[in-house]
Assembly symmetry: C2
Homo-oligomer: 515 residues x 2
């Protein structure tokens, strides 16, 4: 058995059965081995940023890693931004990079580069397999590392891939659940029972339904506020779940949300800092004098901790039935970011997975969908734009029975638009709504906020209107059915149709310029 | 004066007057300062890989650096593949990356990453400017480093950019010309005069007209063969210039070209190695027993060395008039990669700049254009695909009075297709020909060559036909006029029209599948 075959067998043995790829010559034996391992689903992307973002979306929804297969340093470079987002999301991901044959690397051929160094920015676990005998063991080690919520990078030289003598790696023992110690729960309960102004800041696993229900019990029993990190990897929302306020992206909003708190209990979230620095503004958002308790660090089980915390504060069990779903009316008339949000709230299908990269134009969507039926919300965890479309793609691969809705800003869409082709090729049920305001609107906002507003034409650099982007044509070019919508009525009709029909759809929602 | 303003002034003072960018919040003061420094032309791209590739194309044609302006680690990651190509091309390039404010970096905000580590793979010179007082001096140092033919990466924290107290950096002294020592020229001359089978392998500056003419004199006087590196950054070609054979991409072709040589004289080129390793094949391509002389290392002046070498071998002066231009007839009938090549050779405008990323489908173009009027040929120097369209874009910015022809494989086109929008926005005279064979054809070839051919469906991963890509729709979506061509006659008509009209055009040339 050659190295490539053993790697594939080890992945399958450990439940890693999906690989997002754009391969090259150094990955040819991996590609050939796919014929012998039909259990592996290989999903072709036209650009590595789509592959890595799709693996992120898959991992968030499947709760197990997908693999990537990338071509040398440049392939990894192309995928780096979405691996950065995956790292921030703590997504399990086995990141496989083909390299030149071991003996070829010293020749400094044109594609030679230092792959491990590039990977260091996104990977806590990196290994280049030196001999074919080690392939299986290294693959298992990578999977174990990935399961801890990291991007594990396995670099596979071509000769290790093609040489015979490989062995399949062992089955990875499942990682035990890390539990928060009882005295730490008790300490937090004591703080909350004191009745001083307090909030739970929820992130990671604390944003799944069971954990949220427990957090809701804590909040009802103690009056603590429920906040959620600004950019959650996966937030379960909708009817029956307690409402959690996402911490604002703009520091001044976040400061207002945190104002007056005396205790902040972190549950799977990090202590809040501002996204960017601004002249004269603080980067740390916790109010002076507010005590921060890191109750559930990353990797620890949040649902168990929150359930015990709820018991510790003598919270009653949750109501059998939470509040019923509530939708906005279908809007009519002019299309604005506000009416677009209501159109989405009015048509949102049950069980939808929302990949949200609508940025500034998406401001109203959170409110308009808060009362919808149960759904998942995936966001831009690392701030590197070009994530929404790949994440939607990977989520649809992970959950073929659920509809996926991708809320996508026009500027961000143009980063990894190639996602549409993979959606068409795989027949994925993804509805993409382009929030088309012909602008990097957030930068207009930020230009003023950093105190750099000018009376000149520098802001032309945020203008996407010359020429305007025609997303219907772009979608058609990649085999995806698209429709342009200029009124709220048109958007509602287009959403209804897209949700009713299988396969990918795109709606180019034309908003007022710059909003 | 704030840091951003001083940086811009220092760039302009040193002749760096073009910046390819996709900025973010940490670059807002640089953007604002553009209003005060109208000499700087800022060119917006929709993706950083377009910005870095355009800066590469610009530098190759302008013989001076352009600047980039990229947003943090993820922006650099998105641009990394084309910086890799620029590094291999030895293109002068000032790579500016905005970073978080110095005091914000320790907070590990979502976009925080280790920028210098990412840059290390493509940059010999890297500096993060720690204080506003140093901005000017660091900018000059970056320009000096870039002028040596490197990617110089200057990392600019937001607070350094916005703080007052900056000084404009000094004017960079021009780099002296490095000349090859006389005794080394004499040694090479002696080798060549001996009349044993020999070749000059030309690269870098040896591929400009004056150097090529001198190389031609040497070849005529000594019988030495003229070879050229496989992927030159910029090769001057056409009527009146000696024909140089590009070393084959496939190792077996290169081996045949080098077979029987007893002496190989390197002039601005590196000793040849195979692009990839193949089981049982050698990576070093120089025949056993062939003596290799590195006459002109990178950075040394090739034209002067070759002129002296020509004198040293008593070569007569070149003919006043070289051979006249010679074109193939305009083809008619079926469109194949061969008739497409003749169509290009028949219509090629004088003084055109060709950005060539046609890959396998472009095999015949070299021959069909060898006798054309004088032109420049830019190739995929580092093997990281997605370079051709950005390089064409940057070349057109550098040379507004010359037409640019971009020969582009369909698979590679989809990497950085956003280039078309910048071409439309800037009104650049670029004609893009898509060699549309609906396939990663080179990988079908490589699958067999690495000994990994299969009888299964792994090769589906090289199939781009489901769904087919409609490049006319894709171009229209970005404001570029496109036309589909299915016969040789249609391609000829489309080329004539594209070359006659200003502004960008795209021709979707439909080739037989997989060729």
């Amino acid at each position: 058995m050659n190295g490539a075959h053993a790697l594939l067998d080890t992945l399958i043995l450990n439940g890693v059965d999906t690989c997002f790829t754009n391969p090259g010559t150094s990955e040819m034996h991996f590609v050939a081995a796919l014929d012998d391992v039909p259990e592996m689903r290989a999903v072709l992307t036209l650009f590595e940023g789509v592959a890595t973002g799709a693996a992120d979306g898959y991992g968030r929804m499947a709760d197990k890693p997908a693999a990537t297969l990338l071509h040398l340093g440049p392939g990894l470079g192309n995928g780096l931004a979405n691996l950065h987002n995956a790292r921030r999301a703590r997504t399990p991901l086995v990141n496989i990079i083909g390299n030149h044959a071991t003996y070829h690397q010293a020749l400094d051929a044109p594609l030679e580069s230092d792959i491990a160094t590039i990977a260091r920015n996104v990977s806590e676990w990196i290994k280049e397999t030196p001999t074919v005998e080690q392939v299986g063991a290294d693959a298992t080690a990578a999977i174990v590392a990935a399961q801890r919520g990291t991007v594990a990078t396995l670099i596979l030289p071509a000769d290790v891939s093609w040489s015979e003598g490989a062995r399949v790696g062992p089955h990875a023992a499942h990682i035990g659940i890390l539990e928060v110690a009882a005295d730490e729960i008790e300490l937090a309960a004591k703080v909350l029972r004191a009745g001083r102004p307090a909030a739970l800041l929820l992130g990671g696993g604390a944003l799944r339904a069971d954990a949220l229900e427990a957090a809701g019990r804590v909040a009802r029993a103690t009056g603590a506020k429920l906040l959620c990190e600004t950019f959650p990897a996966r937030l379960e929302r909708g009817a029956g779940l307690p409402t959690v306020e996402r911490l604002g992206y703009l520091a001044e909003f976040a400061v207002a949300q945190l104002q007056g708190l005396e205790h902040l209990v972190l549950v799977g979230a990090r202590s809040p800092v501002s996204f960017f620095a601004y002249p004269g503004q603080p980067g740390v958002l916790v109010p002076n004098g507010c005590d921060v308790v890191d109750l559930v660090p990353a990797g620890y089980n949040a649902a168990i901790a929150l359930a015990r915390l709820a018991d510790a504060v003598d919270a009653p069990a949750p109501d059998a039935a939470g509040p019923a779903a509530e939708r906005p009316e279908r809007p009519t008339g002019a299309l604005t970011s506000e009416s677009l949000a209501r159109a989405i709230g009015a048509t949102l299908p049950d069980g939808v997975i929302v990949s949200d990269e609508a940025n500034t134009a998406g401001l109203y969507v959170t409110g308009a969908t808060a009362g919808a039926a149960r759904h998942d919300w995936l966001t831009l965890t690392g701030g590197a734009i070009g994530q929404g479309m790949p994440v939607a793609t990977g989520a649809a691969v992970a959950c073929p029975d659920r509809p996926v809705l991708n809320l996508e800003a026009d500027g961000s869409a143009m980063y990894t638009l190639q996602s549409l082709w993979t959606q068409a090729r795989e027949g994925l049920d993804v509805t993409t709504v382009i929030f088309n305001n012909r602008s990097y609107a957030i930068l207009n906002l930020e230009l003023g906020r950093v105190g750099a507003a000018t009376d000149g034409n520098a802001a032309d650099l945020f203008d996407l209107s010359q020429p305007p982007l025609d997303f219907v044509a772009l979608a058609r070019g990649m085999g995806v059915d698209g429709v342009r919508a200029e009124t709220a009525d048109e958007v509602v009709r287009a959403l209804d149709r897209a949700f009713a029909e299988p396969g990918p759809h795109l709606i180019d929602a034309i908003l007022p310029t710059g909003f």
